[in-house]
């Protein structure tokens, strides 16, 4: 099991979500985050210009079985890209264990639906 953390543009979220769905990744969590990076927005408030480097982003957290790892990365990379500075990052890390609260199932089988 791996955890994929992807920091994407807020405006790309719908596309990424649909792309993940089309590729069979139907479970994940996300929240609003802000990013400090190279992309900047300049603003003026009451005559004081300020250069905010904090851009609104969506932070996706997806735990996948190892077999789905590459597919998920590729899907996100493809659907979140605009080519302009500020497209975001994907980070991969290890997950030791996963538990489905509803059933108590653990391990890989907590990550997909058996039918």
């Amino acid at each position: 099991m791996k955890k994929i953390e992807a920091i994407i543009r807020k405006t790309k979220f719908e596309e990424v979500k649909d792309a993940l769905h089309d590729n069979g990744i139907e479970f994940f969590s996300f929240w609003d985050a802000r990013g400090v990076g190279m992309a900047r927005q300049s603003r003026v408030y009451r005559g004081v210009a300020y250069d905010t480097s904090t851009i609104e982003r969506i932070y996706l957290s997806i735990v996948v079985r190892d077999i789905n790892l590459q597919k998920t990365i590729d899907t996100i990379t493809a659907s979140a890209r605009t080519g302009e500075v500020g497209d975001g990052k994907i980070f991969i890390s290890n997950i030791h264990e996963s538990i489905r609260i509803r059933t108590g199932e653990a391990g890989d089988e907590s990550l997909y639906i058996k039918d």
């Binding site: 405006t11 719908e14 927005q41 300049s42 603003r43 003026v44 408030y45």
Partner: protein, 405 residues
């Protein structure tokens, strides 16, 4: 005695003007509430500006174009810098004030229809045009002694003259600027883009309802004397009942049509009732007002669906259904429900015919000029913001400021 009569009428008109002015934040809140928060500063700015620019433009030339000496039934004789202390029933400046806030109402309706994707600079130019050209000219036809008033067209407080004019221009604008990104799926199916803050939206509707007690009863333009006292009381009742009926009807219709009673459509329903009663608030009975409100509530729900699904015009706040369809319906219904000349009261179809002519003529005018206007703007400075700006919000790119921090 004479002096007191003037005073009473003047107070009435000025208080009404203040109430109608207060409809501006009503519109601003409805539009802000029904759209996304990344465009709120833009919406507020548009509402503030159409009122400000409109106030100046209508004083500068708009008023005389509308109410100046009639030229061929089509337009009033323009004169600059209206500044008269004469009294015609009420002081001329009281009339100017009252008419100014009406003109601004017409202008501000468009703002909602084209929200979340229109260039601010184009909006400003357009806003001048509607207040000094489009609105005053068709307004002259009906209220300034032009050809429609000669014909006997009855639009007491402006279902057609004010509301529909704004809505038809808005319809053309919304169509020409195109739907918001993501509003229609690949198969052309409409998607929901939920409004950011229905609490502000609801407050806006209540404010509008409140302001309408200036809009309609104020249009009596007098309050002195028994007759006027009865008339304005009557207008309060019809206005309030139609709004109530519109809201209740819209709620039940959505409940049946979509399983649950949705707030945003119900809010629109109240407005639809208000717009519809505006034309005939003086000459329909309270019962008639309830029926007009009911009809408006039904039209509203189906109108929103029709514009969204069939016309595929993206009108984020429902301005076209509320002000256009309900305005037209309300104007026509005068031909049925007028207690003096209406079909249901034995008045035959004459008035109904005249009402239809008026509705169509004003619609043609507003759409025609709206088309020319947006066409010119599109070919010159452009009317739509870039994809990037639309995606990230007009607030930051057009105004450098976000509304919420």
């Amino acid at each position: 005695m004479e002096g007191l009569t003037i005073s009473i009428d003047t107070i009435w008109i000025l208080v009404a003007a203040a109430l109608v002015m207060f409809m501006q934040p009503g519109f601003a809140l409805v539009e802000s509430g029904f759209t996304r928060s990344k465009n709120t500063a833009n919406i507020l700015m548009k509402n503030l500006m159409d009122f400000s620019i409109g106030s100046m433009g209508f004083w500068l030339i708009g008023y005389t174009i509308m109410y100046g000496e009639d030229v061929g039934g089509f337009i009033g004789k323009m004169s600059l810098f209206f500044n008269s202390d004469a009294i015609n029933g009420v002081p001329d400046k009281a009339s100017l004030m009252f008419q100014t806030v009406f003109a601004a109402t017409a202008a501000t309706i468009v703002s909602g229809a084209v929200a979340e994707r229109t260039k601010f600079s184009a909006y400003l130019i357009f806003s001048v045009a509607i207040t000094v050209i489009i609105y005053p000219i068709s307004g002259h036809w009906v209220w300034g002694g032009g050809w429609l008033s000669e014909l006997g067209f009855h639009d007491f407080a402006g279902s057609t003259v004010v509301h529909s004019v704004g809505a038809w221009v808005g319809l053309i604008g919304a169509a020409m600027v195109g739907p918001r990104l993501g509003k229609y799926g690949k198969a052309g199916e409409p998607k929901a883009i939920p409004g950011s803050n229905l609490a502000l939206g609801a407050l806006g509707v209540f404010i509008l309802w409140f302001g309408w007690f200036g809009f309609n009863p104020g249009s009596q333009l007098a309050a002195a004397g028994e007759e006027n006292a009865v008339a304005i009381s009557h207008i309060f009742i019809t206005t309030n009942l139609a709004a109530a009926a519109g809201a209740v009807t819209a709620m039940f219709v959505t409940w049946m049509k979509y399983k649950r009673p949705g707030l945003s459509i119900t809010l629109n329903g109240a407005l639809a009732g208000l717009v519809a009663i505006t034309a005939g608030c003086d000459i329909v009975s309270p019962g008639g007002a309830v029926l007009i409100g009911i009809i408006a509530g039904v039209i509203l729900v189906f109108g929103v669906a029709f514009i969204d699904r069939v016309l595929k015009v993206d009108d984020p706040v429902g301005a076209v259904s509320v002000h256009g369809l309900s305005g037209a319906a309300g104007t026509l219904l005068v031909g049925l429900f007028s207690t003096t000349e209406g079909l249901f009261y034995g008045g035959g179809t004459t008035l109904l015919g005249i009402q239809a002519i008026g509705v169509l003529a004003v619609a043609a005018w507003a759409m025609g000029l709206g088309f020319i206007l947006f066409f010119i703007l599109k070919k010159t400075i452009g009317i739509r913001v870039s994809r990037r700006v639309e995606e990230e919000g007009l607030d930051v790119y057009e105004h450098g400021e976000s509304a919420f921090n």
